[in-house]
């Protein structure tokens, strides 16, 4: 039985899948490869490795051989945009290249890589449901997406060059649900949310439980090629905001991009202006291939994932809303002697 290596264990999905793998295969069958240490309670093997170091592929090759790794789960990607784009590029693009080279040389049978549906790029001309064959065309000005795109290109090239090594790429829709904290979910943590005037794209929120299930299914079967992992149904952004009881403020889109860029360069914003595309145009992906190849059917719709997130993150607000309605009903009862309908 060859071991499974997990990279990026400090990322949300990496931590999740590490835990699930330990539960399924036992702590000795899994090795965490990361600069960060795994939770000590897991008792999992840990090898410290920085993918951005010059000879990391050589060290990784030795490590994969020593640990007798058969499967690599590659989750070392930044969900949040970073100001030091150089570091992100080294880790995501070059790190993936190093990892794939080492995996191929070590005779690893399966690589499962985490990717993002955002890599398709949010564009007006996108079809309502992007299939895996659709070209990846993120905004070239967005370093965040460019690095992920390069990682995908490396994965595709290695899959072609090494037919014996299965390289599965899972493109996850934005995660929403208990435990998720990133720049995208943070939109829903404010009372007042700026939104683009005249645009209301459909968006997808993927529940982390569904994400972990799909990732584990990919570790089992590892079909070469890309698979979208998406929730059962998208939701319009404005509807999502209203369901979470936010006050939207509408901003014209040219001003929004400039404003976001200014805030970002001032060190205040959560994301650079090029991300405005993602609240302007849709990047909804189709989950049919994951159903066929991974046997993965999402349990949660976007709305259920959003509900789960709001209940987890803002239980007080949910309670308050509920008690306010109850209070109103009691008042009604006191005044009129009958219960409110």
């Amino acid at each position: 039985m060859r071991r499974t290596a997990v990279t990026g264990i400090a990322s949300f999905l990496g931590a999740r899948v590490l835990r699930r793998l330990v539960e399924a295969q036992g702590p000795d069958a899994v090795v965490a490869v990361d600069v960060a240490a795994p939770p000590p309670t897991l008792g999992v093997r840990h090898r410290t490795l920085d993918f951005t170091e010059p000879a990391s592929d050589q060290r990784l090759l030795e490590l994969l051989r020593e640990e007798e790794v058969g499967t690599v789960v590659h989750a070392a990607f930044f969900t949040n945009p970073r100001r030091d784009t150089g570091y992100a590029h080294e880790l995501e693009s070059i790190g993936t290249l190093n990892l794939l080279a080492a995996a191929a040389a070590a005779g690893v049978q399966r690589v499962v890589m985490r990717s993002f549906t955002a890599v398709y790029g949010a564009r007006g001309h996108n079809p309502n449901f992007l299939t895996e064959d659709h070209p990846l065309r993120p905004n070239p000005a967005l370093a965040w997406a460019r690095d992920k795109l390069e990682a995908e290109e490396h994965a595709a090239a290695f899959a072609r060059r090494y037919p014996d090594m299965a390289v599965a790429v899972l493109r996850f829709a934005p995660l929403f649900g208990p435990g998720v904290h990133n720049f995208y979910t943070r939109i829903f943590d404010h009372r007042v949310v700026p939104l683009l005037m005249g645009y209301d794209p459909l968006v997808q929120f993927l529940h982390p439980e569904d994400a972990a299930t799909a990732l584990l299914a990919a570790v089992e079967s590892a079909p070469t090629g890309a698979c979208n992992v998406v929730p059962s149904r998208p939701i319009p952004l404005l509807t999502a905001l209203h369901l979470a009881s936010k006050v939207p403020v509408f901003v014209p889109h040219p001003a929004a991009a400039v404003g976001a860029d200014l805030l970002w360069s001032a060190g205040l914003g959560a994301a650079p202006g090029a991300f405005v595309d993602y609240v302007r145009y849709p990047f909804v992906a189709d989950g049919q291939r994951a159903r066929e190849r991974l046997g993965f059917t999402p349990r949660y719709s976007s709305r259920q994932a959003l509900d789960a997130y709001v209940r987890y993150r803002h239980p007080h607000a949910v309670e308050k809303a509920r008690s306010a309605t109850d209070e109103h009903d009691h008042e009604h009862e006191r005044e009129h002697g009958v219960a409110a309908p």
Binding site: P39, P40, H181, R233, P236, T239, H242, L243, S245
Partner: protein, 351 residues
């Protein structure tokens, strides 16, 4: 709730931006993450996907009243947000279909379109029973009138006159489907951005799909070219029908060409606005917003016998000669129907 109360401050601590924390802190952080995960797992184990709760159980007026009543101790954010969302959901559904069709929004705007259908344009239909009552089908029509009124009227014709009261998913041109404000409204009222992927997905779901193969050439036709059908794209709609086996129902709309007579077009001004043309009509831009009011012509919508496509098989979609022949057959059928209507028509306004 006590679990989550514990989690919140811990999660905030994680946000400190430090690249290389010392070993103690790292260990502590790992434990925190561990605990957090444990809490999540506990929560999830008991929860699972839940049926969505309605946003607010109250109407917009009640929410507004509560907002104002709160004025004694200051208007609270919660009350404001709740009033705002109650207002929104008074005319929008909480659940839309996968293309964004919102039945409640459609019901809200329907009276305006009903008025246009019955009173303003007095639409007369013929052959609506040619539209299949169930299963996928493709309504192919001539496009005209600067604004896509014809697409709304075809939708209403099938909805009202057809015994199955089917909903037609109209494919909207990019110039409309990408326009701010119009784009979300179109999606909510059931239109879908026209591209082969969307159309195929709808047909495979068994929907009735309406398409205007003339595209921009049709809808932005100058007034002097009225009722002369432009080229039918590159036959994409035929390939689509062949691949899915959906029958094609040719449909001729007469009356729509005169609602906004386009006398000229200012392209240098339209281009920066993202429009393929900026029309000059007798009322626009002369009368400002009144220029958007369409002229009250008399309309007719004719549906021809469906052309079955399943006989050819899906591989026929790769045969360009057959595709062109079928495309031309559909185009000439529609042109014939338009011509015969025009020959019978004595007045633009009264039919």
């Amino acid at each position: 709730m006590s679990e989550s109360a514990k989690v919140v401050p811990l999660a905030k601590g994680k946000r400190r931006r430090r690249e290389r924390p010392d070993a103690d802190e790292e260990d502590l952080r790992a434990r925190v993450r561990d605990l957090e995960d444990e809490v999540e797992r506990l929560r999830e184990g008991t929860e699972g996907p839940q049926d969505a709760q309605p946003a607010t159980g109250e109407g917009p007026l009640v929410a507004l009243a509560r907002l104002l009543q709160g004025g004694r101790d200051g208007i609270t954010w919660e009350a404001l947000a709740r009033a705002w969302s109650a207002l929104y959901f008074s005319w929008h559904s909480e659940d839309v279909d996968e293309f964004g069709y919102d039945p409640k929004f459609t019901r809200t705007v329907m009276p305006l379109f009903e008025f246009l259908y019955t009173m303003w344009w007095r639409v007369e239909t013929a052959g609506v029973e040619n539209v299949p009552g169930t299963g996928p089908a493709l309504i192919v029509a001539n496009h005209s009138g600067v604004l896509p009124w014809d697409s709304v009227m075809i939708n209403l014709a099938v909805r009202h006159e057809h015994p199955a009261r089917r909903e037609t998913r109209m494919l909207a041109l990019d110039m409309f489907a990408l326009l701010p404000f119009l784009a979300p409204a179109l999606a909510q009222s059931g239109a879908v951005r026209a591209n082969p992927e969307n159309a195929e997905r709808l047909l495979r779901k068994g929907e009735l799909v309406g398409v205007f193969p003339e595209g921009v050439k049709g809808v932005g036709k100058p007034f002097k070219d009225r009722y002369r059908l432009a080229r039918f794209g590159r036959g994409g709609f035929v390939r689509l029908a062949l691949r899915t086996g959906a029958p094609i129902v040719p449909c001729a709309v007469v009356g729509a060409e005169e609602v906004h007579p386009k006398l000229a077009s200012v392209n240098w001004l339209g281009r920066p606005l993202g429009l393929p043309y900026l029309p000059i009509t007798p009322t626009f831009p002369l009368l400002g917003p009144l220029g958007f009011v369409p002229l009250p012509t008399k309309w007719s919508i004719d549906f021809a016998d469906p052309i079955p496509m399943d006989a050819h098989g899906p591989e026929a979609a790769e045969d360009p000669i057959l595709v062109n022949r079928l495309s031309e057959q559909v185009r000439s059928t529609i042109q014939r129907m338009v011509d015969s209507r025009l020959a019978r028509r004595r007045s633009i306004w009264f039919g």
